[in-house]
């Protein structure tokens, strides 16, 4: 029941806001945090961990750990995904982001089998904002905040970076295991030119 009320209120936002515009002045950081946390909670329910596990191709997973001093782009060149689970998941993430009344992205992050301590962003979205992604990184060291979420299954809000709010929430598969996480992220002031490259 409580969930139903919450979903209804989120739907109200969508009705009122329509498609969120790029800038919604007047949204405080506290309000931003509240909305992002709500979306993150919904994301944990709506994002299907079994589908997420099918996104990377087997071949790309084999290449992702490869390095060749003569060919530093080897892993990136061979990065590949299965379209269907990718698109299905991306659409869910887009829908979730539209629950916010301000520009928001919901990014999918997944640990990499056989590479403990590493993680990759697997799906980013249209505002191209992430509190954690190092631009261009195929894989990166797992931030401690993500490690906590993956290990405990608890949501976590990161507000340490001024003007940023990022909520990390677990993504479960059908066995109940945390197999991924979403980063629900917004910025108090978007930089319209950043990452246009």
């Amino acid at each position: 029941m409580r969930r139903f009320v919450f979903l209804a209120s989120l739907l109200m936002w969508v009705v009122v806001a329509g498609c969120p515009a790029m800038d919604q002045p007047g949204v405080s950081k506290a309000e931003m945090s509240r909305q992002l946390e709500d979306i993150a909670r919904v994301a944990s329910v709506m994002v299907d961990g079994d589908v997420c596990k099918r996104i990377m191709t087997k071949r790309a997973l084999e290449f992702i750990a490869k390095s060749d001093p003569r060919d530093p782009a080897l892993a990136g060149d061979n990065f590949d995904v299965n379209d269907e689970p990718y698109i299905q998941t991306k659409k869910t993430l887009i829908r979730l982001s539209r629950l916010a009344t301000f520009p928001c992205d919901v990014n999918l992050w997944m640990p990499i089998e056989g590479m403990p301590g590493k993680i990759q962003v697997l799906i980013r979205n249209v505002h191209e904002i992430s509190r954690f992604w190092r631009w261009g990184a195929l894989i990166q060291d797992m931030p401690p905040e993500m490690k906590i979420v993956l290990e405990t299954g608890k949501r976590l809000t990161a507000t340490d970076k001024p003007a940023w709010v990022a909520v990390l929430a677990p993504v479960y598969d059908s066995l109940g295991d945390v197999v991924a996480l979403v980063e629900v992220v917004g910025q108090e002031k978007l930089d319209a030119q950043e990452n246009v490259k």
Partner: protein, 610 residues
């Protein structure tokens, strides 16, 4: 009394070996802060003496409608005040002369100084050596780039002038005789060198004072758009073109690159053209170039903001809403362009995203997996549906291809009609230029830019290669990124051909020696193209190649290696590199003399042409 001092000073300096002088060197012979030829240009360099005749006159020659360039070197071993200028006899002032001070960059890697950025200066230029701002310890020489523009309507003949330096109370003069040939360089260059960049964030970084002054309004200000237009102008003036990609790998579009949209689904439409028209209007109608020597002309190419997230939201991919949003908005764009008369520019639907940047499930740029071609086919269908069949607006579907270009030529025939192709791989497919051009496709190759440390002739390789291959041109993938400190700790300048002028009080880009050399190469090729007459093209290609780097046409199209037929998934950069040795060897045979050999031949033919 003063005369006595001067006499004593002259006597003293002659006893001490004081050797102030002014010198001139060919455009491809760069000198260092001590006046010696830079190391990279030493091999087979044309000596500075090559510019002089037996009487010590600087002899220059050029066709009308083009530039003649050389380095003017002020040598003041003792340092101190000096001035330089180039001037023409009163009757010969129709020649237009631009003087640039050559900035000596300290290259962090080699720990050497090498000139590249060109600071425009007024004549006479007065300063002191060492130049206070360049901070080169023990600098005894300052080089200047001299550009002399020969207007197309000038009377052919020999024009007289002089280069003059004053230092330590003495005057040093070198007479100049410039022969303006009757031949006129056509206004349309024979190959296009495209200078690419990404977004506009770099402008705020490279013009911090302007950014600070304008604050939050910077990215919508007239100064901002003026700056963008200045970048287009500098490349246009140097016989090239300029591209700015306006969206990111995740589909984020900079507001200055696209009309503002509103609504969703069947209600999605363009709401506001304001920023787009401020940005592109003067470029697409050519007025941004009104004050240039080449005159106003619409830009030949421009990226559209179309990507998998614009104008249609990826949320609707595969659903009717995607097609509706795409078709309706693109149709509005066509109507707008048509109503404005923007019918001379090629509008490029181009997908730059790569899967590795984690926003879309297919590669738009450099497709490696054949399955991704189906997205191209779908976008081709959408574009066709959006555009009226008789539209005068030139929309093209551009693909930048490498791994799978051979397959894409076949699978995407009639869908993609603008190719930008990996340089090395393209050399494997000798049949490709003829095949693609005969079906009306535009064909460029792409690659990088030689660094400051490479020999001066290296910059000519790309335009010459494009001409030899009979294609439209060459895309330098990034040309506006001089690095965090190009002045005192240069990274070599491999991704820039221009420098921000703000340090010198100029809110516009400044050219480089490499950009000037490239322009001179393109203008020579354009002149050559006009001289071909009825002779077969291969004759000119063979002759030019022989003079350039002792190559033959077969060298430019090496035998197709077995890896050329591998599926993209099985190709690696290592394999490509191993099978691109012939092309690399050709490039390695280019030195600072190479282009002078070609130019001498072209000008000789031009002087004989009726």
């Amino acid at each position: 009394m003063r005369a006595l001092y001067c006499f004593l000073f002259s006597l003293l300096t002659s006893i001490c070996g004081y050797a102030a002088d002014i010198d001139a060197c060919p455009d491809f012979t760069r000198v260092d802060p001590q006046g010696a030829i830079v190391g990279a240009d030493m091999q087979n360099a044309a000596p500075c003496a090559a510019l002089y005749d037996s009487k010590g006159v600087i002899r220059l020659r050029g066709a009308r409608g083009g530039y003649v360039s050389f380095h003017l070197v002020a040598k003041v071993p003792e340092g101190g005040r000096y001035s330089v200028q180039v001037r023409w006899k009163q009757s010969d002032i129709a020649l237009e002369t631009d003087l640039f001070r050559e900035w000596f960059h300290f290259i962090s890697r080699s720990r050497r100084f090498c000139p590249d950025a060109l600071v425009p200066v007024h004549m006479p230029y007065r300063s002191v050596l060492p130049e206070p701002d360049n901070k080169v310890d023990k600098q005894t020489a300052q080089s200047f780039w001299v550009d002399i523009y020969i207007p197309p309507n000038i009377t052919p003949g020999v024009y007289s002038g002089e280069a003059v330096m004053e230092a330590a109370g003495k005057r040093f003069v070198k007479p100049i005789a410039l022969e303006a040939l009757a031949a006129v360089i056509p206004s349309q260059e024979s190959v296009t060198v495209d200078h690419n960049c990404y977004g506009t964030a770099f402008l705020a970084q490279q013009y911090p004072e302007l950014r600070r002054k304008l604050g939050d309004s910077f990215f919508a200000s007239k100064e901002f758009f003026g700056l963008i237009h200045a970048y287009h102008r500098i490349f246009y003036e140097h016989l090239g073109t300029f591209h700015q990609l306006g969206y990111g790998h995740g589909g984020k579009v900079g507001p200055e690159f696209a009309p503002a949209l509103t609504g969703s689904g069947r209600m999605k439409r363009i709401a506001d053209w304001d920023l787009y028209d401020k940005h592109y209007g003067p470029l697409l109608d050519g007025t941004a170039f009104s004050a240039t020597r080449r005159g106003p002309r619409p830009i030949p190419y421009v990226y559209l903001p179309i990507n998998p997230e614009w104008p249609a939201s990826f949320l609707w991919w595969g659903e009717p809403g995607y097609e509706t949003e795409f078709v309706n908005v693109v149709r509005q764009m066509e109507e707008h362009f048509r109503s404005k008369g923007w019918t001379h520019t090629v509008f490029e639907m181009f997908f730059n995203h790569k899967k590795r940047y984690k926003a879309f499930p297919w590669d738009g740029d450099e497709v490696k997996f054949s399955k991704d071609n189906r997205y191209f086919l779908e976008y081709g269908r959408l574009l066709q549906k959006a555009l009226p069949p008789d539209s005068p607006v030139k929309f093209r579907f551009r693909s930048d291809s490498s791994w799978t270009m051979q397959e894409q030529f076949r699978v995407l025939a009639g869908v993609v009609n603008f190719w930008v192709l990996g340089n090395s791989e393209f050399s494997w497919y000798k049949y490709a230029p003829q095949m693609l051009k005969s079906r009306g496709d535009i064909v460029f190759v792409y690659g990088g830019t030689p660094t400051i440390e490479e020999n001066s002739g290296a910059i000519t390789f790309a335009p010459f290669q494009s001409w030899i291959w009979g294609i439209d041109g060459y895309v330098r993938w990034l040309t506006t990124s001089p690095g965090p400190d190009p002045w005192f700790h240069s990274d070599g300048g491999g991704v820039t051909l221009v420098y921000p002028g703000e340090r010198f009080g100029i809110e516009a880009p400044m050219p480089s020696i490499r950009l000037k050399l490239q322009r001179n190469c393109v203008q020579d090729l354009t002149l050559l193209e006009s001289l071909k007459g009825s002779k077969p093209t291969d004759f000119f290609r063979n002759e030019a190649a022989r003079r350039y780097n002792a190559s033959t046409m077969d060298d430019w199209w090496p035998p197709k290696p077995a890896v050329a037929d591998l599926p993209g998934e099985e190709l690696t950069n290592t394999l490509i590199e191993e099978n691109s040795q012939p092309l690399r060897r050709l490039a390695e045979k280019v030195n600072s003399r190479s282009w002078l050999n070609v130019r001498g031949w072209i000008l000789e033919m031009a002087s004989e042409a009726k």
